[in-house]
Each structure stands twice: as C-alpha cells, then as structure tokens.
Subunit: 466 residues, 2 copies
C-alpha cells in the first residue's frame, strides 16, 4: 500500500515549498530599487490609514481588549495611541486600525489588501527583534509576494464568500514575520501551515454593517505573527496546507490554481502591481467613481442635471456591494455604490472627510443614490480581477445620454500616486483623526522616506518633540 | 427594491437568534440535576486531559508563547504549570493542553470535542470575573448545548475537510463566555457572529503528523473568549453567521440543516449525550477496539493466534484515519487503526501509558498493525454520526473465523464511565505526566465534586499544601 505521506516529505517539491524556498533565501540586494522605493511608499500609506482610525469605533474596543489581555508594556508600538505592548497585540490593534477608513492599498488580481495584514505583523516583529529598516522592507516585500500569489491561487470562488484579506492575509503576515525571524525554507513552510489552518473571515458581516472587517485584519496580522513565532520555536504545520486534499483550497475554493503560487518568482514583483486607494470607499466603487468624475468634468455636468446613472461592473462588485442599498453607518456608506457616486456628483470627491460629513446626511447625495443602478458587464467582468475597468452610462434630466470609460482608476499601477500625492494623503488622513499635527506629519514622512537606511525601527514612531 | 437586510433586524426571528434567546435566559435552576452532575464529571475529565499534557511537545511551545506575548500575571490559571495570566492566554494554553493525549470527551452526532474548547474559555472567564461554581457549570452547559447543535448543523460534509472542534468550537466557547458575562440575546448573537467569522481548522495537518490539532483547540477557546469579551464591549458581528448567504454553511458545508440549531431546546440536553474516552486514541478507533477486546476475551484468543482483522467502519473513520499507515510519532499512532488494535491484541488496552510505551517500539504491535484493514460498512455508516458501531471480523492463523459487534463503545452515554472510573482515569492521566501526586489528585477530585457549591472558582486549582 502506498503511503499517502510519501509525497509530503520535506524533500518533495511542491508549489508551496518552492515559494518558501525562494522567499526564505531572498536578500535585500535582490530587490530592484523600484521595489524598495514602492515598499516605503506602501508603508507610509499604511501608517496613514492606521493613524486615520484613531478614536473611531470599533478601534477603541480593540485597544481596550489588548490592554486587558496583553502586557502593559513591550517593544512594539500601537499606532493610534503610541503605547507599547507585545508583538501579538501590536499587530492586532494596528491590523484593525489600518483597515477602517477604507484607504489602505489593494492588489487587484488577488483582491487582497496586503498592507493592513503584512505591515502590522512585520513592523511589530521588527521592533521586537531590533531589526533595521532594510530588514523591515525585505520582510514586507516577502509578505506581499506570498500574499498576492496565494490570493490568486485561491481564486474568485473563494472571494465570493470569504474575505481574502482575512484568510490569505494570515499567510502573508506569517511569511513576512518568518522572514524577519530568519526561518529556513522548511520552517517557513511550517509557519505557512499553521497560518493556513487559522485562516478565516466571512463576508456575511457586510449585510448588517457589523464590525468584523477590522476583526479579520487584526486577527490575520496577529495570527500570522503567531504562526511564525511558534514555528521558530518548533511548532510544526501541514506542508501542503494550500493544495493538499484537506487544505485551504479543498475546503474554501472551487477554482484554485497552483500555478499562481510560483508565478515568475524573482522576475515578477507583485508588490509593484499594488494600487493605492484615492477615494475613501470600497475599491469596487472606484472605477465607476473615476469614470463619473471624468465624465462630469468633460461634459460640464452638475449633479442637478443627472437623471440616471448605470455603473457597469464586474460580478464581485455586485457580490460585495449589492447588499447595501440604504446605508445606516459611515462605514457601510463606503460600500454603497449609489452613495459614492452621489458624493462624486455633488461634492466632486469621496474623500475621508467628505464621506464622514455628507454620506448619510446630505439629501442631495441621498437623491443621487436612488438614481444609480449597477449592472453586470461582460467586458468588465472578463477583465477582472487583473484589471478593474470603469464604465458609466449617464442620462440627463433633459434626455441627453453620455458614456465614459476609465481603464486605470486613480491609484492603479498605471496611474499611481506620486510621493507628493502620498504625502498629501498622509496629511489629510492623519489630521482628519487628529493623530498628528502638520509638524509631526512632516517628521514622520521624512523618517519613512529614509527607512532603508535606518539601523533599527524600534523607535520609528516615538513621539516627535514639540 | 426590497432591502435584503430587512430580515436581519434584531427583531427578526431566525434559528441562531432563537438559540441565543434560549441560552441567554437559561438559569442554573433550569438545569436538571443529571445535567449539573454530568457537567462536573465532564469538567473533571477535562482537567485530567489538560494536566496529562504537562511537559509533552508541543505544549511548552504554547506556554512560552503565552509568556512572551501575554502578561506575567493575571487572574487565570494555566493548568500545566499553575502560573497565572490573562483570560485570553489561559484559554489558549489550556485549550492546547486538554486536546493532546486524545482522552478528552466527544459528542458523537456533532463530532465535536466540547470540553477542550468550552472549559478553557469558560474557566478562564469565570476566574477573571470571580464567578461561582454554579455560574461555571451553567455557562459550560450553555457552551455544550450551542456547540453540539452548531456542529450538527454544519453536517458531515464540513467534517470531511474541517476539524469541527476547531471551527464550531470557537462558537461554543463564545457562547459559554457570553453567558458568564451576562450578555443579552442580541449581544450574544454578536459574539456568535464574531466567533463564526474567526472559525478555522483544517484536517490537512494529520497526514504529516503536524502540531495543528492543539493549535485548533487553543485558538477556538481563546478566539471564542475574545468574541464574547469584545461583544460585551460593543463589537458587533454578523447576525446570520451560520445560515446567511455568506456565512459559515455557505462557505464550509454542503449539507447544513438549520433545524438542528433549535432542536428541542429545553427538553433535549445534548451535554448528556457526550461520551468519555476510555482508550487514549482517536475516537474513530474506539468502536473497533472495544469489539476486538470483547471478542478476544470471549474466545480466549491470544495475539499470536490472529491471522487477519477487518474493522468495519463508517466513512469518516476512513477519512480521518486512512492517511496514517505507519505512524512515526506517538500522537500519530493514536490515529492508526492498526496500531490501536495491535495494542488491544498484545497488551489488552490502549491506555495513555500503553500507547506511549509500546505503540512505536513493540514489534508484536507492528506485526499486528500489518494484519488490520478497514472497510466501509453500510450499516455502520448509516448509523453514524448518531451511533458509533463497532464491528470486527477476525481470522485466526489456523483458519477459524469470528465476528463481534459492540453497539455502545465504553464511555458512550449508554455505557458511560462511573464517578469511580472517572476518578481512576483522573489519577492515571495526571500521574502519567507527574502533574499531581496521589494526595493532590484526591484533593482536586473532591474540589470538583463540590463545584456546584463553590462561591468562587478563582482559587480552584491553587496548589494543595503538602
């Protein structure tokens, strides 16, 4: 009788082992300059998102939980309150914080928000271990490369029910922390196994506007860190947690493709494909929002002119946004296509301050919301998830008809944000929540732009003297 | 357009809401005496399993992780080392410990091991909150009633890939802790939502004999506790996390049946259906082990007489045990049908000390292992998971043929362990690991037998003065 474990020996090659072999031996000098620079930019953008959540529900619930269950001091920074705690709880609170205001980055084809799961874990571990800025950047890049490929592997069927950033995010965080811990390929594989068997996060919360989205990212970051630290201390995990017959794909996907796991390792830098978010809403609303903005500018339209808007979208947009018709919370408004297009039409943007001020209370926005419908478009759906196309049809009150197409929404790799735009976004987000003043924002930005040269990240967010 | 959230209002009735309404108003005086007594017995049995793991890999990895990430003191006892920490980390280490030696209880039809997920969470919270023994017993019963019904709801398809004790255990733990926190029905529903969206645990680890089984129970207990504490502090969760269109059943089951969730609430006490484990091996080996034991006694057979053994089993036994042919660790040996039947045949039992001493090293056991095969039996499979039937066919070396059928394996509700038998098991397990001596065992047993009268459980496991 053939032993079914025979192909599971450490020596046997399979895609997850190959991925770990590549990432565990990756060195800082292997990273192209462009990757290093973009990682710094993604890190700054992550810090902005985390600080923007200061004081907003449910983040204080996470802070209080960490205080109650964790130690009262430690090597790692909780960004929203600048206290220190253990790596697990810093990753936990920072993971929750950076996914609240819907401004954190997104990788299109994997539908993964990498920053909010990778950076909280890697930054906490780097502070704990006294690592350098270059170590932090390398480990973060490893987490991105793993997370994107695993997200692509899990496929569209997974994303229909599971919040990929919660599930796959656990593995991305584990790989980043494993890299900082210096784990060899086989030990990293154990970390991935322990991360995958903890992977969770269901979309069901969206219909009730419940607080689970932040719980998912908090847990993904913290549990991924747990998996790596415990692997370093000898906890073993399933080697084929991804493609094994009782692994993640077997349980949670119907269209998984192992070829993605090792896609162009060393030549494709998936991190560079990550999009920055410009609007403060669910990324599925962005292509249509940009197309509407372009159209209104081009035709000189005012919101009063609009009779009806059709957003032609991919199926996942309907899956995620379709349940939200009349939002009852600011967070839910970010998942309402009608509200987001209403904000664009009436106020010209869907910024963090604009959503907060107008999404639920401006009757002109509500009126526009009722004029918006989403329809599935075959061309848009076929391009997804690799490309997120914006297609708008608009009828005016006086009977005119317009169309507009945008192929690369603002913030996409082909239409990315510049460093000055990212600095501006950092200031807007951190001042929105009063987490920094302008002087401190300037100092923090300058620290991040010199991250690759920093000898230790332990004091990176120490308060700036005033 | 109909708002799809309309049936999700707090007022709308659905099975999970009904379950929470029943459990949140359940009082100690509602519990039949038999339920109270059995809960004490299950609790003692749980403590025995936890203490039996003292010093055994991977439990020290969990202890060190809790020390590093958690506080250095707190209200809650870590059983294996009698240190104190916060509720989260006590639940974490105790949840890992009590599922290691494969002696913890099992509910047949849900295929859930309730003790190892419910008691770590409930005991930690009860110590934290200074609750009484009666409070602890009531909350534990609530956790069992919820866990069993949710396990049954998730169905056999779930158990094929997912370790139900890890997934459903998270919700059972959350309900128990919610009960101690005094949450009302709607807040308990939020706790269940936050627990369900964290539910995880895949069987893939079993093929490489990895350490994930203890990680699953550690996380289920700790994450369930997290869900309840955070719900008490205002974190909301999906109300239909079980049967919603993007909930647990949608993502992780193909045969879920909501009728189980409210099955005979208040008249059926599922806790009473829980089996104690007699053999120190996977429960799927027990029916055949008992049948072999009975057969050998009845016919006066010696192990040298045996030519071949056929264990006629249900499909889940093949799913869980089929991957293990030649075990390489003691833990894996507990999942090897051939090894367990070999131990019964050669040594007359598969006790914790016997498995440790003989499973991997006794050539007579190895020789027997090669003579055992499992075959799917339609009658056994049809009865499962409600009843776990033992059916053995045995051919002797000299050409005789015997059959034996056992309908209620030792420890099943119809063939349960008495208090003296449980006391004996407690002594065997705790002395195996040198966690207690006989004097302390006697004292701890007596404390548990008076649990219902104890004013506070905070000092329940304080060291006994010698």
């Amino acid at each position: 009788m053939t032993d079914p474990r025979s192909d599971l020996s450490p020596q046997a090659s399979h895609p997850t082992a190959e991925l770990c072999a590549f990432l565990s031996t990756l060195e800082f000098s292997d990273l192209p300059d462009e990757v290093v620079a973009r990682t710094e930019e993604l890190f700054l953008d992550w810090v902005a998102s985390a600080l923007a959540a200061k004081g907003a529900h449910p983040i204080p619930v996470f802070e209080r939980y960490a205080s109650k269950m964790g130690p009262s001091d430690g090597p790692c920074t909780v960004l929203v309150n600048r206290t220190r705690t253990s790596p697990y709880f810093a990753a936990f609170v920072n993971g929750a914080s950076s996914h609240l205001v819907e401004q954190d980055d997104l990788h299109n084809s994997s539908v993964l928000h990498p920053a909010t799961v990778v950076f909280p874990a890697v930054f906490a571990a780097a502070q704990d271990l006294g690592k350098s800025g270059a170590d932090l950047l390398l480990a973060s890049a490893a987490g991105y490369e793993a997370g994107v490929r695993i997200g692509e592997f899990m496929g569209r069927s997974h994303y229909k029910v599971f919040h990929t950033t919660g599930t796959v995010g656990t593995l991305a965080a584990a790989v980043g922390v494993a890299k900082l811990l210096g784990l060899d390929a086989d030990t990293m594989l154990h970390a991935v196994g322990s991360a995958g068997t903890q992977a969770s996060g269901l979309w069901e919360f969206l219909r009730d506007a419940a607080d689970s989205k932040q719980l998912h990212t908090a847990k993904a970051a913290a549990d991924g860190l747990l998996a790596a630290y415990m692997a370093a201390d000898g906890l073993t995990g399933a080697r084929r947690i991804l493609d094994g017959e009782k692994g993640m794909a077997a349980g949670m996907s119907t269209d998984a493709d192992p070829a993605f796991l090792t896609d162009r390792l060393g030549t494709r830098w998936a991190l560079l494909e990550t999009s920055f978010k410009f609007h403060a809403s669910c990324r599925h609303t962005h292509p249509a929002a940009d197309a509407l903005h372009v159209l209104m500018q081009r035709e000189g339209l005012r919101h009063e002119d609009i009779g009806a808007i059709t957003a032609k979208v991919h199926q996942a947009a309907i899956d995620v946004l379709g349940g939200v018709t009349t939002p009852t919370t600011v967070h839910q408004a970010k998942f309402s296509m009608g509200t987001v297009l209403g904000l664009i039409a009436v106020h010209g943007d869907a910024s963090i301050a604009g959503v907060e001020a107008h999404a639920l209370t401006d009757p002109r926005v509500s009126a526009l919301r009722e004029k918006v419908q989403m329809v599935l478009d075959p061309e848009v759906d076929a391009a997804y998830p690799k490309r997120w196309l914006g297609r708008i049809e608009l009828d005016t009150q006086d009977g005119r008809h317009f169309s507009c197409a945008v192929d690369a929404p603002k913030g996409d790799p082909d239409n990315t944000l510049t460093r000055p735009e990212l600095e501006d976004k950092f200031r807007r987000l951190t001042q929105f929540s009063k987490a920094t003043d302008d002087t401190e924002a300037t100092e923090l930005i300058s620290r991040v732009w010199s991250l690759r040269d920093r000898a230790s990240v332990t004091g990176l967010f120490d308060k700036v003297a005033r």
